[in-house]
Protein backbone atom coordinates (compact mmCIF):
# COMPACT_ATOMS: atom_id res chain seq x y z
CA UNK A 1 0.00 0.00 0.00
CA UNK A 2 2.66 2.46 1.09
CA UNK A 3 4.80 1.60 -1.93
CA UNK A 4 1.86 2.22 -4.26
CA UNK A 5 1.30 5.66 -2.77
CA UNK A 6 5.00 6.46 -2.82
CA UNK A 7 5.15 5.39 -6.43
CA UNK A 8 2.19 7.59 -7.25
CA UNK A 9 3.70 10.56 -5.47
CA UNK A 10 7.05 10.21 -7.24
CA UNK A 11 5.60 9.68 -10.72
CA UNK A 12 7.35 11.89 -13.27
CA UNK A 13 5.69 15.23 -13.76
CA UNK A 14 5.13 15.99 -17.40
CA UNK A 15 5.19 19.73 -18.00
CA UNK A 16 2.59 19.91 -20.74
CA UNK A 17 0.07 17.14 -20.39
CA UNK A 18 -0.58 14.52 -17.77
CA UNK A 19 -3.08 11.70 -17.64
CA UNK A 20 -5.38 13.99 -15.68
CA UNK A 21 -5.25 16.71 -18.33
CA UNK A 22 -6.34 14.30 -21.05
CA UNK A 23 -9.35 13.15 -19.03
CA UNK A 24 -10.10 16.74 -18.06
CA UNK A 25 -10.36 17.66 -21.73
CA UNK A 26 -12.53 14.59 -22.39
CA UNK A 27 -14.80 15.49 -19.46
CA UNK A 28 -15.20 19.03 -20.78
CA UNK A 29 -15.99 17.70 -24.25
CA UNK A 30 -18.58 15.23 -22.92
CA UNK A 31 -20.20 17.92 -20.78
CA UNK A 32 -20.40 20.39 -23.66
CA UNK A 33 -21.63 17.75 -26.09
CA UNK A 34 -24.46 16.59 -23.83
CA UNK A 35 -25.56 20.14 -23.07
CA UNK A 36 -25.41 21.29 -26.70
CA UNK A 37 -27.36 18.24 -27.82
CA UNK A 38 -29.98 18.89 -25.15
CA UNK A 39 -30.18 22.61 -25.89
CA UNK A 40 -30.59 22.08 -29.62
CA UNK A 41 -33.96 20.42 -29.24
CA UNK A 42 -35.51 22.64 -26.60
CA UNK A 43 -39.29 22.44 -26.91
CA UNK A 44 -42.29 23.11 -24.74
CA UNK A 45 -42.94 19.40 -24.33
CA UNK A 46 -39.63 17.52 -24.11
CA UNK A 47 -39.60 14.23 -26.00
CA UNK A 48 -37.81 11.14 -24.87
CA UNK A 49 -35.98 10.23 -21.71
CA UNK A 50 -32.78 12.09 -22.48
CA UNK A 51 -34.35 15.49 -23.12
CA UNK A 52 -36.84 15.38 -20.29
CA UNK A 53 -34.13 14.09 -17.95
CA UNK A 54 -31.83 17.00 -18.73
CA UNK A 55 -34.73 19.41 -18.43
CA UNK A 56 -35.69 17.99 -15.03
CA UNK A 57 -32.08 18.31 -13.89
CA UNK A 58 -31.69 21.92 -15.00
CA UNK A 59 -35.09 22.83 -13.58
CA UNK A 60 -34.24 21.29 -10.26
CA UNK A 61 -30.90 23.06 -10.28
CA UNK A 62 -32.53 26.39 -11.02
CA UNK A 63 -35.03 26.10 -8.18
CA UNK A 64 -32.98 24.36 -5.55
CA UNK A 65 -29.66 26.13 -5.89
CA UNK A 66 -30.85 29.27 -7.64
CA UNK A 67 -34.06 30.56 -6.11
CA UNK A 68 -33.98 28.76 -2.79
CA UNK A 69 -30.42 29.82 -1.97
CA UNK A 70 -29.60 33.06 -3.77
CA UNK A 71 -33.10 34.49 -4.05
CA UNK A 72 -34.90 36.44 -6.76
CA UNK A 73 -31.74 37.73 -8.50
CA UNK A 74 -30.49 34.17 -9.05
CA UNK A 75 -30.98 34.20 -12.82
CA UNK A 76 -27.82 36.27 -13.26
CA UNK A 77 -25.67 33.71 -11.44
CA UNK A 78 -27.19 30.48 -12.69
CA UNK A 79 -25.04 30.12 -15.85
CA UNK A 80 -21.82 30.22 -13.83
CA UNK A 81 -23.11 27.87 -11.14
CA UNK A 82 -24.60 25.44 -13.65
CA UNK A 83 -21.30 25.34 -15.57
CA UNK A 84 -19.50 24.53 -12.32
CA UNK A 85 -22.03 21.89 -11.34
CA UNK A 86 -22.22 20.03 -14.62
CA UNK A 87 -18.48 20.12 -15.16
CA UNK A 88 -17.74 18.76 -11.68
CA UNK A 89 -20.48 16.14 -12.01
CA UNK A 90 -19.17 14.96 -15.36
CA UNK A 91 -15.57 14.75 -14.25
CA UNK A 92 -16.49 13.01 -10.98
CA UNK A 93 -18.54 10.42 -12.81
CA UNK A 94 -15.99 9.96 -15.58
CA UNK A 95 -13.38 9.26 -12.91
CA UNK A 96 -15.40 6.27 -11.70
CA UNK A 97 -14.81 4.33 -14.91
CA UNK A 98 -12.03 1.84 -14.11
CA UNK A 99 -8.71 2.97 -15.59
CA UNK A 100 -9.64 6.62 -15.85
CA UNK A 101 -7.70 9.23 -13.90
CA UNK A 102 -10.32 11.36 -12.15
CA UNK A 103 -9.83 14.97 -13.31
CA UNK A 104 -11.08 16.36 -10.00
CA UNK A 105 -8.82 13.98 -8.07
CA UNK A 106 -5.87 16.37 -8.32
CA UNK A 107 -5.51 19.51 -6.24
CA UNK A 108 -4.71 21.61 -9.33
CA UNK A 109 -8.12 21.21 -10.94
CA UNK A 110 -10.11 21.70 -7.76
CA UNK A 111 -8.03 24.72 -6.75
CA UNK A 112 -8.65 26.32 -10.13
CA UNK A 113 -12.39 25.73 -9.73
CA UNK A 114 -12.34 27.13 -6.19
CA UNK A 115 -10.36 30.16 -7.38
CA UNK A 116 -12.92 30.82 -10.10
CA UNK A 117 -15.72 30.66 -7.52
CA UNK A 118 -13.77 32.87 -5.08
CA UNK A 119 -13.08 35.55 -7.68
CA UNK A 120 -16.70 35.39 -8.85
CA UNK A 121 -18.35 35.98 -5.51
CA UNK A 122 -15.89 38.68 -4.49
CA UNK A 123 -16.40 40.44 -7.82
CA UNK A 124 -20.15 40.51 -7.31
CA UNK A 125 -19.69 41.63 -3.72
CA UNK A 126 -17.56 44.57 -4.85
CA UNK A 127 -19.98 45.33 -7.67
CA UNK A 128 -23.11 45.47 -5.53
CA UNK A 129 -21.68 47.23 -2.47
CA UNK A 130 -18.64 49.11 -3.67
CA UNK A 131 -15.15 48.42 -2.34
CA UNK A 132 -15.30 50.06 1.09
CA UNK A 133 -18.82 48.96 1.92
CA UNK A 134 -18.12 45.36 0.94
CA UNK A 135 -14.99 45.39 3.08
CA UNK A 136 -17.03 46.76 5.98
CA UNK A 137 -19.81 44.23 5.50
CA UNK A 138 -17.59 41.41 6.75
CA UNK A 139 -18.11 42.60 10.33
CA UNK A 140 -21.69 42.27 11.57
CA UNK A 141 -23.39 45.43 12.71
CA UNK A 142 -24.13 46.08 16.35
CA UNK A 143 -20.78 44.92 17.73
CA UNK A 144 -19.06 47.51 19.94
CA UNK A 145 -15.82 49.13 18.88
CA UNK A 146 -12.74 47.08 19.83
CA UNK A 147 -14.44 43.73 19.21
CA UNK A 148 -15.53 45.03 15.83
CA UNK A 149 -12.02 44.94 14.41
CA UNK A 150 -11.27 41.47 15.76
CA UNK A 151 -14.47 40.05 14.29
CA UNK A 152 -13.73 41.77 10.98
CA UNK A 153 -10.23 40.26 10.91
CA UNK A 154 -11.57 36.78 11.68
CA UNK A 155 -14.20 37.08 8.98
CA UNK A 156 -11.59 38.23 6.48
CA UNK A 157 -9.45 35.19 7.30
CA UNK A 158 -12.46 32.88 7.02
CA UNK A 159 -13.18 34.37 3.60
CA UNK A 160 -9.76 33.24 2.41
CA UNK A 161 -10.09 29.90 4.17
CA UNK A 162 -13.20 29.30 2.02
CA UNK A 163 -10.91 29.13 -0.98
CA UNK A 164 -8.80 26.38 0.58
CA UNK A 165 -11.68 24.36 2.01
CA UNK A 166 -13.63 24.41 -1.27
CA UNK A 167 -10.60 23.06 -3.12
CA UNK A 168 -9.49 20.54 -0.51
CA UNK A 169 -12.99 19.16 0.14
CA UNK A 170 -13.59 18.14 -3.45
CA UNK A 171 -10.02 16.93 -3.98
CA UNK A 172 -9.89 14.90 -0.77
CA UNK A 173 -13.26 13.26 -1.39
CA UNK A 174 -12.31 12.14 -4.87
CA UNK A 175 -8.74 11.16 -3.99
CA UNK A 176 -9.69 9.24 -0.84
CA UNK A 177 -12.55 7.48 -2.60
CA UNK A 178 -10.33 6.27 -5.39
CA UNK A 179 -7.65 5.24 -2.92
CA UNK A 180 -10.16 3.11 -1.00
CA UNK A 181 -11.45 1.51 -4.21
CA UNK A 182 -7.85 0.80 -5.23
CA UNK A 183 -7.00 -0.72 -1.85
CA UNK A 184 -10.01 -3.07 -1.99
CA UNK A 185 -9.23 -4.08 -5.55
CA UNK A 186 -5.62 -4.80 -4.57
CA UNK A 187 -6.71 -6.88 -1.59
CA UNK A 188 -9.17 -8.96 -3.60
CA UNK A 189 -6.44 -9.60 -6.19
CA UNK A 190 -3.92 -10.45 -3.48
CA UNK A 191 -6.02 -13.28 -2.02
CA UNK A 192 -6.98 -14.55 -5.45
CA UNK A 193 -3.41 -14.80 -6.75
CA UNK A 194 -2.50 -18.31 -5.36
CA UNK A 195 -5.26 -19.91 -7.46
CA UNK A 196 -3.61 -18.73 -10.65
CA UNK A 197 -0.36 -20.51 -9.70
CA UNK A 198 -1.97 -23.84 -8.92
CA UNK A 199 -5.55 -24.94 -8.47
CA UNK A 200 -5.54 -26.73 -5.10
CA UNK A 201 -8.03 -27.01 -2.27
CA UNK A 202 -5.87 -24.85 -0.02
CA UNK A 203 -5.65 -22.10 -2.60
CA UNK A 204 -9.40 -22.23 -3.10
CA UNK A 205 -9.98 -21.83 0.63
CA UNK A 206 -7.47 -19.00 0.71
CA UNK A 207 -9.35 -17.22 -2.05
CA UNK A 208 -12.52 -16.92 0.05
CA UNK A 209 -11.60 -13.52 1.56
CA UNK A 210 -11.24 -12.27 -1.99
CA UNK A 211 -15.01 -12.70 -2.45
CA UNK A 212 -15.61 -10.59 0.65
CA UNK A 213 -13.28 -7.85 -0.55
CA UNK A 214 -14.94 -7.91 -3.94
CA UNK A 215 -18.37 -7.48 -2.34
CA UNK A 216 -17.01 -4.59 -0.28
CA UNK A 217 -15.51 -3.10 -3.42
CA UNK A 218 -18.86 -3.17 -5.19
CA UNK A 219 -20.54 -1.61 -2.15
CA UNK A 220 -17.93 1.14 -2.00
CA UNK A 221 -18.30 1.70 -5.72
CA UNK A 222 -22.02 2.33 -5.26
CA UNK A 223 -21.20 4.71 -2.45
CA UNK A 224 -18.63 6.50 -4.60
CA UNK A 225 -21.30 7.16 -7.25
CA UNK A 226 -23.37 8.79 -4.52
CA UNK A 227 -20.38 10.78 -3.26
CA UNK A 228 -19.59 11.98 -6.79
CA UNK A 229 -23.08 13.48 -7.11
CA UNK A 230 -23.14 14.86 -3.56
CA UNK A 231 -19.74 16.53 -3.84
CA UNK A 232 -20.70 18.26 -7.09
CA UNK A 233 -23.86 19.45 -5.33
CA UNK A 234 -21.98 20.57 -2.23
CA UNK A 235 -19.38 22.52 -4.19
CA UNK A 236 -22.04 24.37 -6.16
CA UNK A 237 -24.26 24.85 -3.13
CA UNK A 238 -21.43 26.42 -1.13
CA UNK A 239 -20.53 28.67 -4.07
CA UNK A 240 -24.18 29.78 -4.19
CA UNK A 241 -24.20 30.42 -0.44
CA UNK A 242 -21.02 32.50 -0.70
CA UNK A 243 -22.49 34.51 -3.57
CA UNK A 244 -25.64 35.07 -1.54
CA UNK A 245 -23.60 36.24 1.46
CA UNK A 246 -21.55 38.58 -0.72
CA UNK A 247 -24.49 40.25 -2.45
CA UNK A 248 -26.86 40.30 0.54
CA UNK A 249 -28.01 43.78 1.49
CA UNK A 250 -28.31 44.66 5.17
CA UNK A 251 -31.80 45.43 6.38
Amino acid sequence: MQEVIAHKASAPVTPFMSQYTVWLIIAVCVCILVMVLAAKKVSLIPEGRFFSGIEQLTNWFRWDIGYNTIGPEADKHIPFLAALFFFILTSNLIGLIPGVACPTGVIGTTFALALASFIYFNYYGFKTHGFLKYMKSFAPEGVFFPMNIIVWLLELISCFVRLVTLAVRLFANMYAGHLILGAFALLSALFFAPILQGFTGGALLGALPSVLWMALLILMYAMEIMVACIQAYVFTMLSAVYIQLAIATEH
Binding site: Q2, A9, R169, A172, I230, Y233, V234, L238, V241
Partner: protein, 68 residues
Protein backbone atom coordinates in the same frame (compact mmCIF):
# COMPACT_ATOMS: atom_id res chain seq x y z
CA UNK B 1 7.01 3.68 14.92
CA UNK B 2 7.20 4.93 11.38
CA UNK B 3 5.79 8.27 10.31
CA UNK B 4 3.16 6.43 8.30
CA UNK B 5 1.85 4.58 11.36
CA UNK B 6 1.73 7.79 13.38
CA UNK B 7 -0.15 9.44 10.55
CA UNK B 8 -2.70 6.61 10.50
CA UNK B 9 -3.24 6.97 14.25
CA UNK B 10 -3.69 10.71 13.84
CA UNK B 11 -6.23 10.09 11.12
CA UNK B 12 -8.14 7.73 13.40
CA UNK B 13 -8.22 10.39 16.11
CA UNK B 14 -9.42 12.99 13.60
CA UNK B 15 -12.22 10.76 12.38
CA UNK B 16 -13.77 10.61 15.86
CA UNK B 17 -14.64 14.30 15.67
CA UNK B 18 -15.98 14.07 12.15
CA UNK B 19 -18.11 11.05 13.10
CA UNK B 20 -19.62 12.90 16.03
CA UNK B 21 -20.27 15.92 13.81
CA UNK B 22 -22.00 13.97 11.06
CA UNK B 23 -24.00 12.03 13.63
CA UNK B 24 -25.18 15.23 15.29
CA UNK B 25 -26.24 16.75 11.98
CA UNK B 26 -28.10 13.57 11.01
CA UNK B 27 -29.81 13.60 14.41
CA UNK B 28 -30.87 17.18 13.96
CA UNK B 29 -32.12 16.60 10.43
CA UNK B 30 -34.08 13.47 11.45
CA UNK B 31 -35.71 15.22 14.40
CA UNK B 32 -36.58 18.23 12.28
CA UNK B 33 -38.06 16.08 9.53
CA UNK B 34 -40.14 14.11 12.03
CA UNK B 35 -41.56 17.31 13.48
CA UNK B 36 -42.15 19.09 10.21
CA UNK B 37 -42.26 16.72 7.24
CA UNK B 38 -43.08 19.51 4.77
CA UNK B 39 -39.62 21.05 5.41
CA UNK B 40 -37.93 17.82 4.31
CA UNK B 41 -36.17 19.08 1.17
CA UNK B 42 -34.81 22.19 2.88
CA UNK B 43 -33.62 20.18 5.88
CA UNK B 44 -31.95 17.65 3.63
CA UNK B 45 -29.92 20.41 2.01
CA UNK B 46 -28.85 21.72 5.39
CA UNK B 47 -27.95 18.20 6.49
CA UNK B 48 -25.83 17.59 3.39
CA UNK B 49 -24.01 20.88 3.92
CA UNK B 50 -23.39 20.18 7.60
CA UNK B 51 -22.18 16.68 6.86
CA UNK B 52 -19.89 17.99 4.12
CA UNK B 53 -18.36 20.53 6.48
CA UNK B 54 -17.55 17.93 9.13
CA UNK B 55 -16.52 15.30 6.62
CA UNK B 56 -13.97 17.68 5.10
CA UNK B 57 -12.03 17.68 8.37
CA UNK B 58 -11.71 13.90 8.34
CA UNK B 59 -10.66 13.94 4.71
CA UNK B 60 -8.02 16.60 5.34
CA UNK B 61 -6.74 14.27 8.05
CA UNK B 62 -6.62 11.36 5.60
CA UNK B 63 -4.76 13.36 2.98
CA UNK B 64 -2.29 14.64 5.58
CA UNK B 65 -1.75 11.10 6.85
CA UNK B 66 -0.99 9.89 3.33
CA UNK B 67 1.22 12.82 2.36
CA UNK B 68 3.23 13.05 5.61
Amino acid sequence: MSAFAIGIIGYGLGVIGAGIGIGLSAHGAATGMARQPEMQSRLFTVFILGAAFSEALALIGLVLALIA
